[in-house]
């Protein structure tokens, strides 16, 4: 583990995000019991784990959506309190949430600029619909997803199209730290390939740190530099992607499951 970490520091840029000892309780449920993670600029971290392991909860703490009950977060080396989504965003953190965070009744372009709207110059702070429409079209064309018209309501799109909108929104926000919660879950093979190619392009820029939650071991190992396994609110395994395999990860998960049921 120490090995993987030093290696990451050699290969990649400066550490972008670090969380230590994160605890989160929802009433009597302890969703996270002391979780740590770190990711460097230019690096991509994959998080794997069972349903309910606490992956999304960890991500929502890193976006400022949830507040941790204990633990610290460092952004670009400085300790920060991410008290709100806006605060996290102002530090360069963007997220594709598992539920996609889209409003069905609003148009595609309104969704893509939700809470980061472009305004017309002048004292009245009116929305610049035209600029948002144009930029949304560019962003979608850029990630190569077939969306006929950005005026359409998001509720009329297919699951994969909706996911593409959410990814395009996060990617086109100039984020330095990109958090992706199952960004490929509803995608067709061609579209998933396009999103992965896009993520790899971003990674190649070298100045963006990416964290991706996924369930597909093989795919995750293929695109990520490092992977981390979460179970029951803790990190149970961490490795460089090149040094492990889907079979090994599966074996670890099975063993822990057995141990948990046994003891």
């Amino acid at each position: 583990m120490t090995d993987a970490r030093t290696h990451a520091h050699q290969m990649h840029g400066k550490e972008a995000l670090r969380a230590e000892g994160i605890v989160k309780r929802f009433g009597s449920v302890e969703a996270l019991s002391g979780v740590g993670m770190h990711v460097a600029a230019g690096e991509m971290l994959g998080i794997l784990g069972d349903n309910g392991a606490g992956k999304s909860t960890l991500l929502k703490i890193l976006t400022g959506y949830h507040q941790p009950d204990a633990g610290t977060i460092h952004v670009n080396g400085a300790q920060q309190v991410l008290g709100s989504v806006d605060q996290a965003r102002s530090r360069g953190i963007e997220c594709v949430y598992q539920d996609l965070a889209l409003v069905n009744g609003l148009s595609i372009y309104h969704n893509m600029f939700l809470n980061r709207e472009l305004l017309r110059p002048g004292p009245f702070r009116l929305l610049n619909h035209r600029a948002m429409r144009e930029r949304a079209m560019e962003a979608l064309a850029d990630i190569g997803v077939n969306i006929p018209n950005v005026n359409l309501e998001v509720g009329r799109l297919s699951g994969g199209q909706r996911q593409a909108i959410a990814v395009a929104r996060a990617v086109h926000s100039d984020a330095r730290i990109l958090l992706l919660d199952e960004p490929l879950a509803a995608m067709g093979a061609r579209e998933a390939g396009q999103i992965i190619a896009l993520i790899e392009r971003l990674k190649a820029r070298g100045d963006i740190a990416i964290v991706m939650i996924a369930h597909n071991y093989a795919q995750t190992l293929e695109v990520c530099d490092r992977v981390m396994l979460m179970q029951h609110g803790t990190v149970t395994y961490e490795s460089r992607a090149a040094e492990t395999s889907p079979a090994e990860l599966l074996e670890i998960v099975r063993r822990e499951y057995r141990e948990m049921r046994g003891g």
């Binding site: 069905n104 609003l106 939700l114 949304a136």
Partner: protein, 336 residues
């Protein structure tokens, strides 16, 4: 085939649409069906009660329409973010008395109006804080407020009507002139339409009602949006009560009330605002208010008896709402 998959073009080419399809879009806008209803009603009443389109009657009509439309502007914002204010008709009655009290201690009329509106805004703030932070449904919060404010108004007025202060030409502007209140309503409709369609506040209001979790994940402070819309609604309610006081020349402590509040809500819903939240139109609220006004005024001209009248209005509201929901379903089913 090639073209459709070309990523560079994918987002750019809006599909070519025929004139018929564009007209269809226009016809299926939530406001459009209500506009048609309004026109049909005008034609019908002009034909059957031949003094309908006279200056005197239009003035009466405009006065009937103004208050529900102004209240609708606030209620529509609240309905969109899945809340409602049942107490706005009470604030409507309270505001003129606060204005009168302030005037009587020596504050000039404009200052007295500001003081009254400030109290109304405070009422909205309290409703919002209770609803959002104590998790009381606004239906219940504002039901409580309904009785509470009625009591306050009756107490400070001792149950007697009060004369509206005389502020010279200001009286005419604020409702003394025949069409003044209606012009205020139109102005407020224009203002709130811009707020809803062309500001972040409006967009965030729609997002809050459409998907509160998504809005919060995008970083929108949904509590602030809701509290703000309660404040807007109460303030508009108070302002409307003040306009009415200037038009009539005096204020009754039992003015407004649930009747005017429900007319406001009904105007919004008839105009196409979804009770379930996430969608709505201020212009629709204006047209909805006009439809209700035409019905009331038209049947009065026809001399229909008062009991029959309520039955007809009730049925008309039901019909308009059913039409509204069916229209929304047709829009939803239409292939793009």
């Amino acid at each position: 085939m090639q073209q459709r998959n070309d990523p560079a073009r994918a987002g750019r080419l809006p599909p070519r649409r025929s004139l018929a399809s564009r007209l269809m879009d226009l016809a299926l806008r939530p406001e459009a069906s209500v506009v048609v209803v309004a026109i049909v009603l005008v034609v019908y009443f002009e034909a059957t009660a031949n003094n309908f389109l006279t200056d005197a009657n239009l003035q009466t009509l405009s006065q009937f329409v103004a208050a529900p439309v102004i209240l609708a502007c606030g209620e529509i914002m609240l309905l969109i973010c899945r809340e409602i204010d049942l107490s706005v008709g009470q604030v409507f009655a309270l505001a003129p008395f606060i204005m009168e009290k302030a005037y009587n201690v020596g504050i000039p009329v404009p200052g007295a109006i500001v003081a009254a509106l400030f109290v109304c805004a405070l009422v909205g703030l309290v409703i919002g804080l209770i609803t959002v932070h104590l998790n009381v449904p606004s239906f219940i919060t504002t039901l409580g407020m309904f009785f509470l404010i009625t009591g306050i108004t009756l107490t400070i007025s001792r149950g007697f009507p009060a004369d509206t202060p005389n502020a010279g030409v200001l009286n005419n502007i604020l409702g003394g002139w025949g069409y003044a209140e209606f012009l205020w309503a139109l102005g407020l409709v224009a203002l709130m339409h811009i707020v809803l369609r062309h500001t972040r506040w409006g967009l965030h209001t729609i997002a809050t009602g459409g998907n509160a979790i998504a809005a919060a994940e995008a970083g929108i402070n949904i509590d602030r949006i809701k509290i703000g819309n309660f404040i807007i609604t109460s303030t508009l309610g108070g302002f409307c009560g003040i306009l009415e006081a200037f038009r009539i020349g005096s204020t009754d402590p039992l003015a407004g009330g649930s009747n005017i509040m429900f007319l406001g809500v009904a105007s919004g819903v008839i105009g196409g605002t979804a009770i379930a939240g996430g969608a709505g139109t201020i212009i629709g609220g204006l047209v909805g208010g006009i439809v209700l006004g035409i019905l009331q005024d038209g049947f009065t001209l026809q001399g229909i008896n008062a009991f029959m009248f309520d039955i007809i209005i009730g049925a008309a509201i039901l019909l308009a709402m059913i039409a509204n929901i069916q229209m929304a379903r047709w829009r939803g089913m239409r292939p793009q």
